[in-house]
Amino acid sequence: MSTDFSIIGKPTAMVDAAEKTTGAGKYTDDLSVPGMLVGKILHSPYPHGRIKSIDGSRAEKLDGVVAVVVGKDAPKTYGILPVGHDEYPLALDKARYVGDNVACVVATSEAIAEKALELINVEYEVLPAYFDPEESMKAQSNLIHDNKPNNIEKDYHHVFGDPEKGFAEAEAIAEARFIANEVTHAAMEPHSTLASFEIDPHTGKPGRLTVWSSTQVPYYLQHKLSLVLEMPMAQIRVIKPLVGGGFGGKSEVIPLEIIAAVAARKAQAPVKITYTREEVFWAHRGRPRTIVDLKTGVTKDGRITAVKARVVQDGGGYCSYGVVTILYSGALLGALYDIPNIQYDGYRVLTNKPACGAMRGHGTVNVRFAFESQLDELAGKVGMDPAEIRQRNLLQPPCITVNGLRVQSYGLPECIEKTVDRSGWKQRKGKLPKGRGLGIACSHYVSGAANSIIRSDMPHSTVNIKIDRDGGVVVYTGASEIGQGSDTMTAQIAAEVLGCTLSRVRVVAADTDLTPIDIGSYSSRVTFMAGNATLRAAEEVKKLIAAAAAKKMGCSSDALAFANDAVSIKAGPDGRERPSPHSLSSSSASVSGRVEGQILRGSLQQKRKDEGPKDSMTFEEAVVAAIDFHGALTGTGSYAPPIEARGGKHKGAGVGPSPAYSYSAQVAEVSVDEETGEVTVHKVWAAHDCGRALNPVSVEGQIIGSVWMGMGQALTEEMVWKDGMLMNPGLLEYRSPSSVESPEIEPIIVESVDPEGPFGAKECSEGSLAATIPAIANAIYDAVGVRLHEAPFTPERVLAALRAKRKAKSLNLTEGIDPTSPERFREHGGSLWYKGKGPHRHALDPSRQQSPSAPGGAD
């Protein structure tokens, strides 16, 4: 850990911690403005249907209803990707999933709005629907989007090196299908948007729009609003209040954000819409169910010779981030290990379910589950320890991978070493009691994408700093704090550069009127990119202060040190640091700035009395001098990724490249109950190379949080569908782990000090998630000798695998009922009652009376 910084590297409470722990901080649903109305959305009950007519007249007549909004009120498409503008805020021609947004009622209360929803008459022409991606890919008619033949949103086919030759050289090959089921972010704060137009007093028409929204991407929201509402962006102000978690679920524009603005325009009044938890599940934009057919070859020394991956993603009804997701699945096969030959075939398929988007770790997670599991299998085949096989395949940075990714700082070797050491891997593996095992896996992630969604060379982050005579440092940053600590990171970097206390820094963030563009909190880009912009802005304003202080103290700018809230001449020739009479006794960051503020004010009044050359000035004196000499003290810093980091030129090469990658190595210790199939994770040791831990408390929190979320996906979380209907749209049914289901997680910070990161920092919030799933899978194998190929590893799946291992007779629930009934539960999207096939219904079951094709044979 670093010791020569004052604020960087010290455990720091978040600058907004008090707002959160007192409940004083405002999230979007906590806000209200005078005259505010409530909006409620009507959703489609059908997975696929043409909208023939919508009649809202009965709803409009209900007392308290101000407006009924439909697709025709905003017939402009949008989407998060330039190639994916396939969504209307309210469906215009078709509904493409159960839960799709069809109409919106604006009323004086939630109760009235809900009642009014029932009075809206929508006539649908129900269309055949697609639920299984491999079936959907064969579609010839009733396409979900007419311009996407075979319901394929996008497909990519990449060959790097010579995979055929690589497999020929391999001395051990493994090939298997892996399935990772659908998961969602389930952030604790449901999506919420408050939209308010200023009404022009002369014309009575809506003028400037202000939108408060729970978003990770205020600038993208501003942009999409301007597209759909057909207003200039400068007439739209987007403000991000406190956000209660995102994880990618708020990293694109969610329908309700635009619906609220359209509703406010039609109702001529401010409108707030907050999703129910059920609606949050339907809004989704989570991680798609993914089928990975993976083949890997290694030499008998464990060196990987080739990898072939075919990935099919069940993308849901709209494009969303889909093109990026399917590209990440292939791209980040590289930059972790040294793989010389890669063949990748990726298919992003449309289905009639809520759209999938970006979720922590994005498209890399499900492929990493497959790869790390398969690598373990190959380790077994060549008789090598799983930790060692990973150490045999390390990259030698700085380098560019076969698929065009530039790698510089690479802490993976240290991560593997440390996690192996802390977990007692060498001493304990193979020696644990029956049913208990250890598993290891690695993963990595980008510190921001080197190529932004907006196709241009513009900076990805710009930060402004203003310092005035009050000595306060105000940082204006577009970076969106979503709980990951970006406001604190911003303040820490500014304070470290300027040598002032943290309490002096005030962060104004994510308000499109005040703060310059930052493209958003996704791809774990904020510390690296907005952090660098902050650093540059602080350096710029520091130069002005240094010049003025130098003038006052009769020395050169280079001779000055900024630390402890003072500007002093650096140590003399005897090397000893001259103690500044003005420095505060403690340089550690404080949660409450009250005490220090009083001391500062006292010393400020003192200092005005004595002028004249000296070897040190307080921060305020230097600031005052700088303003006297230069005028206003402002600084701007921007960051755009360097061209060398932006990757190759092949189709789809834009996704994957990053200025820096984080690395993770984890060991999981599990127990498997062979009677019940229940898996218990006892502990996970997670080493994460974050470049430099700017705030160790936050870094550890992010590592723990991502490992925990990976564990959720590994063991319990799964969206369960029946004929396009989500069966578990609630936090308990979705099985988000509570404290009693959550293991101890030991985070191990590794610092490789990236050459381009701010103070060497890289990301620490996404890179760890992907390794947890295979670490648990590999630990299950170590514990009970079964290799699980489908996540989550529910008791049912574990028992089925144990049975198969014992070659026990598999239970066939439909044996003897109907020979044409589905053999696998997942066929036809999981419905056992598809086309009337499936187990017997009771003779008196009403549905049996109605349906012409009775299940099973004759009564």
Binding site: P11, A13, M14, D16, A17, A18, E19, K20, T21, T22, G23, A24, G25, K26, Y27, D29, D30, H185, A186, A187, M188, E189, P190, L242, V243, G244, G245, F247, T276, R277, E278, I482, G483, Q484, G485, V591, S592, V697, S698, E700, G701, I704, G705, V707, W708, M709, G730, L731, L732, S736, S738, S739, V740, S742, E744, I745
Partner: protein, 163 residues
């Protein structure tokens, strides 16, 4: 439904509110009293983000009818800080990373208050079990345990200092 007048005692203060009988306590707190610290995060009383203390006992305000709370002492997150400064548990949550996005934090703090009032020296398991009524998606709970231990130490030190 016609509104009726009820009197609620919240954080030591008395409030007269006109509500429909079916109104939930959470909505009275958030909308009528502008005490937005208690949150709604689910539809089915499964997450604990709305946790308040009713006569010192942690309960979910989304499943309580406001009218049924007349005559009881309601404590919300807004009533936890003492004399304008952070209670030990609030400071500890901030210092130890117990709060990331902060949305679940008010609910957790009320649950912890209730736990420590009943059991001032809980074991690891006691804490884990007590916290199981609140869901968090950010922290994985680990740093919350550290925060709680630190708060207990601080409280004991504070009590010792006054002796």
């Amino acid at each position: 439904m016609k509104k009726e007048l009820i009197e609620l005692s919240v954080n030591g203060r008395s409030h007269e509110v006109a509500i429909e009988p079916s109104t939930l306590l959470l909505d009275v707190l958030r909308q009528n009293l502008q005490l937005t610290g208690s949150k709604r995060a689910c539809d089915d009383s499964s997450c604990g983000a709305c946790t308040v203390l009713i006569d010192g006992v942690a309960m979910m305000s989304c499943t309580l009818l406001a009218a049924s709370c007349e005559g009881q002492e309601i404590t919300t997150i807004e009533g936890v800080s003492e004399h304008g400064s952070l209670a030990a548990i609030q400071k500890a949550y901030g210092d130890w990373g117990g709060a990331q996005c902060g949305y679940c934090t008010p609910g957790f703090i009320m649950t912890v208050k209730s736990l420590l009032a009943e059991n001032p020296d809980p074991t690891e398991d006691d804490i884990r079990n007590a916290l199981s009524s609140n869901l968090c998606r950010c922290t994985g709970y680990n740093q919350m345990y550290e925060a709680i231990r630190s708060a207990i130490k601080a409280e004991l030190a504070g009590i010792a200092a006054t002796r």
